[in-house]
Structures are given as structure tokens and as C-alpha cells.
């Protein structure tokens, strides 16, 4: 029975580790300026925790194999050194790894969430609602119109509650359900929630942030590859949560400029 346990644990360990190493299911390629640091942090953690995982499972398996009661009257043996090696290993080795990961990781985190956006950023206003994202560009006047929740009217596509009748800066605001951005340009999003908590997640961009009703939350990134990717909601927001997505289109600068001009003409 002990041998069976050892074999099963070993097989489980080897198979699951192999799948991790083979990247059978893995992160999609990184298309962001900051993502490589996150990927490196992930790999480092995967290696150190993988070693710990394999060693502890195999130790468990080995001891279960070797130390079954063979009814030969032998005496039990204490672990050499008693509890001290355990404490030392955990405090020193694991502690050192934790320290390293914390120091490096804090810098990676701060680089994404604790630095101000580039002053040259393209500003885009984002509203999350049950169950869609809408993106607002300021239009040719470069100013966002004021939003008024009581004026929101979805039937006429006034998702932000703009007041174009009285607010001229609102008349040219461009509101779209797809986030279209230029390549290699810093993007500064402002995240607002219309109703409940939502979140903005693009796996390829290595970026995620909750929307909180009552708060205006900044988020910035730069996309380094063109293409069409999905933005999905990761904060439970109601029955349509699974179907709450938008597409993000990264276009070369010239194509983006043309898109923006075309949209402005339609307002």
C-alpha cells in the first residue's frame, strides 16, 4: 500500500510538472511594453516553486515507500537533526527566495501601477456596465464632455449620459464598443463603473484592473504588436458576466489616425 502510494504520487508529480514545463497550456505571447517583467517573475516563481513541489512530493513518496511497517520489530528512527533542519531550510532558503521575489516583484508592480502615465499618452475614458464596455475618445476638441448618470439612455446609444444639447464639448465625443489604439503609443485609460464592480483584463497585455463604482481608476499601458485581442470582465457583475467582452484593436499609427478621423466625421 505504501509502495502504491509512492508510485501514484510520483506519477502525479512527474506528469503535472511535465505539462507545466511543456507549456501545453500557457500564457499567450506578450504584446505589452511592461509584460516581459511579469513573465520573468512568473518563470522565476515557477522554477523555485516547481523545485519545492517536486522535492516535497518525491520525499513524501520515498518515505512512504521505504518506511512501511514490515513487522520486523525494528525501532523507529527520528529525523536526523530533529526539527531544526526543517526550520532552517524554511527560514533560510524559502525566506531568501521570498525576499528576492518580493524586492524584484515590488519594482515590477510599481512600474505598472505606481508610476504616472506618460504625458504623451492617448487619453481614453472607459465605462463598464452590465454587460458591455464602452470607450470614449475626446474628439477633435480634445475635451471630454461631462457625464450625467440621469441622462444615460441606451436606446439612443447615450451610454455615458452626455448632454450634447447644452454641452458643446460633448458633441464631438466618440463613443465606441471596441478599444482602438495606435501601436507603440502610451495609452492612459480612466476606468469608471456605471452600476456594479467590473474588471478590465487582456491576457496578452498582461494587464488587469477592477472597476469600482464611485471611483475613477487610472490604468496605463503600451501595446507593442498590432492585432485584435479580447478584453474580458473578471469581476462577477451579474448574469451576463460571461458574455461581457470588448475587442481591442491595435493599429499602426497611420491607420489609427484615419480611423479616428472617420469616427469624428460620423458624430
Amino acid at each position: 500500500m505504501g509502495k502504491l502510494f509512492a508510485v501514484v504520487v510520483t506519477i502525479i508529480t512527474v506528469v503535472s510538472t511535465a505539462i507545466f514545463i511543456a507549456h501545453t497550456w500557457w500564457l499567450p505571447p506578450d504584446i505589452s511594453a511592461h509584460g516581459h517583467a511579469i513573465d520573468r517573475q512568473l518563470s522565476e516563481t515557477m522554477i523555485s516553486s516547481g523545485v519545492l513541489f517536486v522535492l516535497s512530493q518525491l520525499a513524501l513518496a520515498l518515505f512512504a515507500w521505504r518506511f512501511g511497517d514490515r513487522e520486523d520489530g525494528r525501532r523507529v528512527k527520528p529525523f536526523p537533526g530533529g526539527a531544526t533542519p526543517m526550520v532552517v531550510f524554511a527560514a533560510v532558503l524559502v525566506g531568501a527566495e521570498i525576499l528576492t521575489l518580493t524586492l524584484v516583484g515590488a519594482k515590477v508592480w510599481a512600474g505598472v501601477f505606481q508610476t504616472p502615465p506618460d504625458p504623451n499618452s492617448l487619453q481614453i475614458d472607459v465605462q463598464a456596465e452590465q454587460f458591455a464596455f464602452y470607450f470614449r475618445y475626446p474628439g477633435p476638441d480634445g475635451r471630454f464632455g461631462a457625464t450625467h448618470p440621469e441622462l444615460i439612455n441606451e436606446a439612443s446609444e447615450n451610454f455615458f449620459g452626455l448632454d450634447p444639447a447644452r454641452d458643446t464639448s460633448a458633441r464631438d465625443d466618440i463613443v465606441v464598443p471596441t478599444l482602438t489604439i495606435p501601436l507603440n503609443r502610451p495609452i492612459a485609460l480612466t476606468l469608471r463603473a456605471k452600476d456594479v464592480n467590473h474588471a478590465f483584463y487582456v491576457p496578452e497585455l498582461r494587464i488587469q484592473q477592477d472597476f469600482v463604482p464611485g471611483l475613477t481608476i487610472p490604468l496605463h499601458f503600451t501595446a507593442t504588436q498590432t492585432g485584435r485581442y479580447e478584453i474580458v470582465c473578471t469581476q462577477l457583475c451579474g448574469l451576463g458576466h460571461y458574455n461581457m467582452r470588448a475587442y481591442i484593436e491595435v493599429l499602426p499609427q497611420a491607420q489609427f489616425d484615419q480611423w479616428l478621423k472617420d469616427k469624428a466625421a460620423q458624430q
Binding site: F131, N153, S156, P164, A165, V176, P177, G240, N243
Partner: protein, 240 residues
């Protein structure tokens, strides 16, 4: 003699049958008809971008649907305007046939649907995506109900007269109306803005036109026999 009796009975029988079958033909009574138009600049009918629902986006890839809150037609006609007898109603027949609402291509078809109290209403999901229809009723009981792909139709009915805005909880652009009327004398204008109310017994009627953005307008019309009276409604439109 017998042949004459037979012909009389046959004639009455045929005539009566014709009257019953021929309700769609010209019923006895007056007709009030006309057009609903607008002056001024209406808001733009904007194309609806259904990108977040790829199934529906694909269906409309060639020709996107437009917003329906103010739908205009040729010669300044207004579509989706309800014209009905709001006072002095006579001779309304209760409707028992089932009305059908489709959720198709991520739109409510028809955009404005009229039922009488307790008239059966069947709601179908024809799309390869879930919908969750949410009538925002205030007088009637408010409810919402999901229909995943392949779900059976919802059998609903409205008990009290009310103009109920309807939205889809899953797709923010999907909006429509359920109008619960006690009268059977109503019409919803088409692209040409025209309406026709038929079979009105003699009397004084208040005819009301309702447009979801511009509100209501009413006019009093008196009919005496089987004449056709012409009535027109003109709404003032503003761009915002």
C-alpha cells in the same frame, strides 16, 4: 318557394360568414387615417456596433442596424409611432390570438409591440446567444428571464394597460416597447408614417399618437357613419 327560402338562408349565411371572415376587409364603421411626420432636425439614426456579440455582429456585417428610438422615413415620416383611441373607445374586440416577439440578430422584432390585457405573448430567442428580456414595468409586475441558446419560448401576458419599455439585460443596445392597450383600435406606423383605424362606431374619439422620444399628441375626432376622416400628427424634433 323552397328554392327562394334556401337562397335567402344561403345568402344570409354567406353574408354573415363573409362579415366574420372579412374583418380584415372593410368592416362597417368609420375610418380615421393619416400620417405622422416631424418638423425640425431629428437626432441621427446611428449604426449599432454589436462587436461585443460576435454572432450578431456577423449577421449585420454587411448592413448594420440603426438605432430605433427615432426612426424616420421618406418625406419626414416617423416610424414606430403608436396611434390609438385613448378615450371614447367603442366596439373594441378583445384579441385572443398569440402575439409573437422575436429576439433576432440582437434586436427586438417588432421594436414596438402592442397587446391587449391578458393577450398571450410568446417570446422567442432566434439567436445563437443568450438573451435576458427585461420589461421595465411599473404598473404590471416587473420581471426578467433568460433564454439560453435553444431555450423554449417564454409565454407571457400583461394584465394592466401600460406602456412598458423593454431592454435586454445582456445586450445594452437592445430596446423595445410592449404597449398594453384595452382598445383594439390602434395602428403602429411603418416607414411611410401612415396609420389607419377602422371599424369605428359613430361617436367622439380622442386619438393619441405616441412616439417613445417625443411623447404624445392627442386630437378629438367625431365620426357619424362610415366616412373616412383624415388626421395628421406632426412632432417637433430636435437633434439631441
Amino acid at each position: 318557394m323552397r328554392v327562394r327560402d334556401l337562397m335567402l338562408v344561403g345568402g344570409v349565411g354567406l353574408g354573415g360568414t363573409a362579415m366574420m371572415i372579412g374583418r380584415a376587409a372593410t368592416p362597417p364603421g368609420a375610418t380615421i387615417s393619416g400620417k405622422v411626420t416631424f418638423t425640425g432636425t431629428p437626432p441621427k439614426m446611428k449604426p449599432i456596433d454589436m462587436a461585443k456579440e460576435p454572432f450578431c455582429a456577423r449577421l449585420h456585417a454587411a448592413a448594420p442596424v440603426l438605432t430605433e428610438n427615432v426612426t424616420t422615413g421618406p418625406s419626414d415620416a416617423l416610424r414606430w409611432v403608436l396611434v390609438y383611441v385613448s378615450a371614447g373607445d367603442q366596439g373594441s374586440a378583445p384579441a385572443t390570438e398569440t402575439v409573437r416577439l422575436d429576439q433576432k440578430g440582437c434586436q427586438y422584432i417588432p421594436h414596438v409591440l402592442v397587446v391587449q390585457p391578458n393577450q398571450p405573448l410568446d417570446i422567442y430567442n432566434d439567436d445563437s446567444t443568450s438573451h435576458n428580456i427585461h420589461p421595465l414595468a411599473k404598473v404590471n409586475a416587473e420581471w426578467n428571464k433568460s433564454q439560453p441558446i435553444g431555450a423554449p419560448p417564454i409565454h407571457a401576458k400583461w394584465e394592466s394597460p401600460e406602456f412598458i419599455p423593454v431592454k435586454c439585460n445582456v445586450h445594452p443596445w437592445m430596446h423595445g416597447w410592449h404597449l398594453v392597450l384595452t382598445t383594439s383600435h390602434y395602428a403602429v406606423t411603418g416607414e411611410d408614417g401612415a396609420f389607419r383605424l377602422q371599424g369605428l362606431p359613430p361617436g367622439k374619439y380622442t386619438i393619441t399618437a405616441w412616439q417613445e422620444q417625443f411623447g404624445t399628441q392627442s386630437q378629438d375626432v367625431t365620426v357619424t357613419g362610415s366616412e373616412t376622416k383624415s388626421v395628421s400628427f406632426v412632432f417637433k424634433a430636435t437633434p439631441y
